[in-house]
Symmetry: C2
Subunit: 248 residues, 2 copies
Amino acid sequence: MSKLKQHQSVPIHVAEVIKGYVVDNCMNPGDRLPAEAELMKQFNRSRGTIREAMRILEAQGLVKTRTGPGGGCFVHEVSEERTSALLSNYFYFRNLTISDIYQLRKQLEPELVANLAGTLNQQQIQELEEITREYETPPKTAEEDRNHHRSSLKFHAQLAEYSSNKLLGFFVRFMANLLAELTITRRLYEPSNFELWREGREHQLNLIHALKVGDRQQCRQIMLDHMILAEKLMQSQEEQPIQKFSQF
Amino acid sequence: MSKLKQHQSVPIHVAEVIKGYVVDNCMNPGDRLPAEAELMKQFNRSRGTIREAMRILEAQGLVKTRTGPGGGCFVHEVSEERTSALLSNYFYFRNLTISDIYQLRKQLEPELVANLAGTLNQQQIQELEEITREYETPPKTAEEDRNHHRSSLKFHAQLAEYSSNKLLGFFVRFMANLLAELTITRRLYEPSNFELWREGREHQLNLIHALKVGDRQQCRQIMLDHMILAEKLMQSQEEQPIQKFSQF
DNA sequence: ATCTATTTGTACGTATGTATT
DNA sequence: AAATACATACGTACAAATAGA
């Protein structure tokens, strides 16, 4: 078990073994790992080494540490923010384009809302309506346009939240976050684009209605139309690649 | 810049600042970060603290360290394995099911191969054919069946590799890896399932042909059929949630 | 409210390992 | 083969946080 893999630094190895320990013992979020002193004895390593191992696990979001008596290192559910940030970093050097993202959105978001049709409760519908109110008036400035844009993406992230398919939900939210980070000014606030703004908003209102009455096919179609429209809007910008290191 | 966020440990803060430094200076993979001694001076921190910060960045896959003269800490392109492992960890406590994954595969894989139709070169086609040869005879034992299963998933991962859409490619590969980690024995080697094995294999051969001649619609349809078949095969197993901490 | 014990956090010095020149 | 420049690991000391007496 504690055989050291060649050319792998000791802290990394320690971190891996601890990870295995968590899995083997079916530990759950909140459960406490042995204290540093204990681990020093078990691995026969110095404090610094054990601590570096802990930092590795912490960076991966798998544990949280607390000081004080009863403190220590605790198993922790990996947060969505962290995972999302880590995934963004992966794409940092890989130059995604707007069309790459929209190819996926066109596939996944209609599917997501079709699943949601007729399953949302009163409160969830209200939350969606709440968000749409954030952009009920046409944007008049670049600043306002950016806010509208972000709120609109929040609408999609919220839908993803409701999905019972956690994998689908995560992917959809991740893409919405990627787009939100761009904070592109689409110059939608210029008069020529009022019509597009109106159409986009109408889509979302129609979608909410279709979700209420549970019309799967209608949901799917509206979302697809909406994606095509949204892509058109963003494509009007130069096709700049997406590049950003996420902090957390 | 170096204002310390409250309740954020020093190493994490140092790691964040270094990350910002990489972004601000548009550093690329291979570029060298300041040496430990240098960072100790700049941040006015001890060696241990700087090293913990480095461990954090390393765990995120953003840097690699090398010993020796001319060694040090280098910016590194986040590897797919690492990202994939981190993402798996996120889903560790979230109990994904086989159907969750297949809902996505059914949407994404047909789209992926449609894009690939007529774009693959001689060598790429050969690589695919190579993989299919790994399961040209029906499996006779549980062990053989597992290997077939993994090879088949390798076929899908390889297709994803060819996609010009890096986002789509990553998602598809990630799902293939998730399924491969399951190493479920499907008892496909039992006589009753020969027919299903034959059908699945035929799909892949037909797909290669359709890719060659560049029939987008055909590619899409074959892959969809294949996904439906594959799901049926896996669903014949009890619907166990997917739970595994990825090592790397 | 204060003190005390526990546990992590930070710092420093030193010795050793390792790859390049 | 030796010198060099760097990372790796250890041990100790003390600081900070927190829970409980």
